[in-house]
Amino acid sequence: MEFRTAGYNGYAVKYSPYFDSRLAVVASANFGLVGNGRVYILGLDANGIHAERVYDTPDSVYDLAWAERNETQVIVGGGDGSIKLFDTKSPDNFPVQEWKEHNREVYSVNYNLVTKDSFVSSSWDGTVKVWDPVRPNSLLTLPTHSCTYSTAFAPRSPSIISAVSSDSHLRIFDLRTNPSSANHLVHLIPIHGYPPMPGSTYGPPRQTYAPSECLTHDWNKYRDTVIATAGVDQLIRTFDIRNPKAGPVAILRGHDYAVRKLSWSPHLSDVLLSGSYDMTARVWSDGSNANAPSRPANLGPEAWGDELGRMNVHTEFVTGVDWCLFGAEGWVATTAWDERVCVWDVRSVMNPANASRFN
C-alpha cells in the first residue's frame, strides 16, 4: 500500500502505539533544504491509505514521536529548533503546545516508554533535552557537544537515555546518577572501536574503523541491553552495554551508502529493519537467535548477522522505517524522499524459510 506526500519529501514515519491502522509521517519541502514541513496523520483501511489530518509547519520537520500516554497526540521536531505537540482532538490545525529551546535543527524526539510522562529530544546544537509535555520548559539538558542525530529512552528503564552523534560515539546517560560534572553520562562508547590497547594480548586482534557520523540507533525490544547503531560508514553495529568496552557484538555489512534509520522488530528479538541512502530498506538478523548456526567467535563481529530481505521500491533515499506493533509480525512502513509512504510486509521480500519465522 502506498500514500503520496505530494510536494513533501518524507523524513520519518511512526506507527501509532494505540491503533494498528494509524500512522504519522513528517515530511519537508525541497528535501528539507528550505521551506516548510508537513505532518500527516494517516489512516489505513481496506481502500488503502488516506490522510486523516494534515498539519503544516513553517519549517522543515525531521522526526516525530507518538505520545505514549495519549493516543491523539504527536510530538514533532523541526528545522527551526522547535518541538511541537499536535493533538488530533483539537479542531484547528495548530499545535497545542510548542517548545523552543534548541538552537539548531531538532533531529529526533522519542517518548519515555516506561513512565510515559516525558520525552527526549536531540539537536544539532549538541544537546539532548528531557521534557515533560505539561511543562513549558525542559526538565534537563544533557550536553553532547556534537551534532546529535538520534536519542531515545531505554525501553525497560525510565531513566536511561541513549544518544548517538556526529562524533561517532554512543552515549548512555543514567538520570539516577548524581548530577555531577559528568552530566549523568555513564558510558561513552566509540562506535568505530577503541584505539588498539597497548599491551593487550587478549583475543584476536580487533579491527578498527575510521570514525564516522552516526545517524541512527535503536534499543532492542527484548534484550534490553542491546543497542544497534548505524551511520555514514554503511555498517550496522550492535552493542551490548553490559560490556561497553568489548566493542560491537555484530556488524552487518551490506548497505551501499549511509544508513539513515533503523528499527528493531517488536516481535522478533534478532530482526531489525534499516533504511539507507542507497534507496533500499533492508531486513536483517543480527545472528543472535537460537536457530542461527553458531559461529566461531574468533571470526569477529563481521561474521554475525545476515541480510534477510531487501525492499527496492523507493526511488529516493529511504529516511523513515517503523514496524507495526499489531497484527501480522511482518508489517512495516517506510518513507523516503520520493514523496511516498509504503506499507508492506517484510515477508514479501524474503525467502520462505526466513519468512516463516514471522507469524
Binding site: 510536494g7 519529501n9 519541502a29 525541497n30 528535501f31 528539507g32 533544504l33 528550505v34 521551506g35 516548510n36 508537513r38 503544516d56 509547519t57 513553517p58 519549517d59 522543515s60 525531521y62 538552537n103 535543527e105 533531529y107 544539532w124 546544537d125 549538541g126 544537546t127 557537544h145 556534537s146 551534532c147 542525530y149 556526529s166 562524533d167 561517532s168 560515539h169 548524581n178 555531577s180 560534572s181 559528568a182 553520562l185 561513552l188 584505539p195 588498539p196 597497548p198 599491551g199 594480548t201 586482534p205 579491527q207 574503523y209 575510521a210 564516522s212 557520523e213 555514514v232 551501499d256 551508502y257 549511509a258 541512502y277 534507496m279 563481521e302 526511488t315 529516493e316 533515499f317 520520493d338
Partner: protein
C-alpha cells in the same frame, strides 16, 4: 566510573592502578604457549615460508638493511617471562613490530583480513593493498571535510556529502598507517621505500587538498601517540570517562560538526547565503555519487536538483528554491508558474 562517583580522581591514582594491576592470568596464558610468537598473526605456521618470501622481497625490491630484518624476525626467548609493569611499554613496542605494523595496513579493508591468512605473502598483500587504494581514490576526488558555513537547513546536503565522501578519510588513514612503521623504527631506508610507495599512491589521488594533508599528518601523530611511550597516558585516559569526554572536545570534528561546531556556541550565524557555496556543495555531492550508474541514482530527483544547483540553474532565495534564467538574473517565479514551492501558512 566508580572513582568519579566517590570523589575526585587524579591521574596519578589511575596510573597507580595500572601499575599494580594483577597480571597473573595474562602471564599464565603467555607461558603456556609453545612459542611466544604463536599469537602473532604474521608468524606461526607460515614463519619459515614468510622468511623465504621476505628474503625474495628484500632482494627484489627494497634495499633494507639488516637492522630491520633483525627487528622483525628476532625470535623472543622461549618461555619468556612477562616483564614487570615498568617494562610493558617496551614490551608493547616489541610486539608491535612483529605483528601490528602489517596488520594495521589491512585495517581499512576489513574484508581482506581473511585473504591474508590464506596467502601468507605479506608483500603481495601490500601490493594488492596499493592497487586497491589507487582504485578507491580514483573515484573520490573531494576532500573529506568541508568547513563551509552556510545557512540552509543543511542537514540533507551536508549529511549526504560526508556520507559519500567516507572513503577519503579511510585512504588517508591507510597512508598514515603505512608510514607508522617507518617512523617507529627510525629506519631511513625503510622510510624511503614507504615514501616511494606513498608517493605513487598520492599521485593517483588527483587532488589532495591541504586539509586532507593536514588530516593525515594528524593521524600520523595520533597513531604514534598510541604506539609509543605515551601509550600509558592514553590508556589512563580511556579508563576515565570524564577525561575521555573532555578529550573528545579536542578530537577532530567530523561531519556536521565541521559545519557548525556545537561546542562553539558563540559562532556567528552567517546571515548571507552564498549561492556559490551551494553550487560547490552540490557539485561535491554529485562527484561522490557519479560512479553509481544504477537506474535509481540516474533518475533521482534529488540528484537532479543537485545538478541544477551545481549548474546554477536553480538557487535558494529566502525560503524558496528559484529558477535562474540563462543570463544569471532572476525571473519572476509566479509569473512563470515555475515556483518550486509555495511557502505554507
Amino acid at each position: 566510573m566508580a572513582d568519579s562517583m566517590c570523589g575526585p580522581s587524579s591521574a596519578l591514582q589511575n596510573f597507580q592502578k595500572h601499575s599494580t594491576i594483577d597480571r597473573t592470568l595474562q602471564q599464565d596464558r603467555l607461558i603456556s604457549r609453545q612459542t611466544p610468537s604463536q599469537g602473532f598473526r604474521s608468524s606461526g605456521l607460515n614463519a619459515s615460508h614468510l622468511d623465504h618470501e621476505f628474503e625474495s622481497f628484500q632482494a627484489g625490491q627494497l634495499p633494507l638493511d639488516h637492522g630491520f630484518q633483525q627487528n622483525i624476525f628476532q625470535p623472543a626467548p622461549p618461555g619468556m617471562q612477562q616483564p614487570g609493569p615498568a617494562n610493558w611499554a617496551a614490551d608493547f613496542q616489541r610486539m608491535n613490530i612483529s605483528s601490528s605494523a602489517p596488520q594495521l595496513q589491512q585495517q581499512p579493508y576489513g574484508m581482506h583480513a581473511q585473504q591474508r591468512l590464506d596467502t601468507g605473502g605479506w608483500h603481495q598483500d601490500f601490493a594488492r593493498q596499493q592497487n586497491q587504494m589507487a582504485d578507491s581514490s580514483r573515484n573520490i576526488q573531494i576532500p573529506s571535510h568541508t568547513n563551509t558555513p552556510y545557512n540552509y537547513s543543511p542537514m540533507p546536503v551536508m549529511g549526504m556529502m560526508n556520507q559519500f565522501s567516507k572513503i577519503t578519510p579511510q585512504s588517508e588513514l591507510s597512508i598514515s598507517q603505512q608510514k607508522q612503521p617507518a617512523e617507529a623504527f627510525d629506519d631511513e631506508a625503510f622510510a624511503r621505500a614507504f615514501e616511494e610507495a606513498a608517493q605513487t599512491e598520492m599521485e593517483s589521488m588527483q587532488d589532495p587538498t591541504q586539509e586532507s594533508t593536514q588530516n593525515s599528518t594528524q593521524n600520523i601523530e595520533m597513531g604514534q601517540d598510541i604506539l609509543l611511550n605515551e601509550s600509558a597516558e592514553v590508556l589512563m585516559a580511556s579508563d576515565d570517562l570524564q577525561m575521555t569526554s573532555d578529550e573528545l572536545l579536542n578530537q577532530e570534528r567530523i561531519g556536521a560538526d565541521t559545519i557548525h561546531d556545537p561546542f562553539n556556541q558563540n559562532e556567528v550565524k552567517p546571515e548571507h547565503q552564498d549561492p556559490e557555496e551551494l553550487a560547490r556543495t552540490a557539485a561535491k555531492l554529485l562527484d561522490s555519487v557519479q560512479h553509481d550508474q544504477s537506474v535509481k541514482f540516474q533518475n533521482s530527483q534529488f540528484l537532479s536538483l543537485m545538478r541544477q544547483f551545481r549548474d546554477r540553474e536553480k538557487t535558494v532565495e529566502g525560503d524558496n528554491i528559484v529558477t535562474k534564467n540563462g543570463m544569471g538574473g532572476y525571473q519572476n517565479q509566479e509569473m512563470n508558474g515555475e515556483r518550486y514551492q509555495v511557502q505554507g501558512p
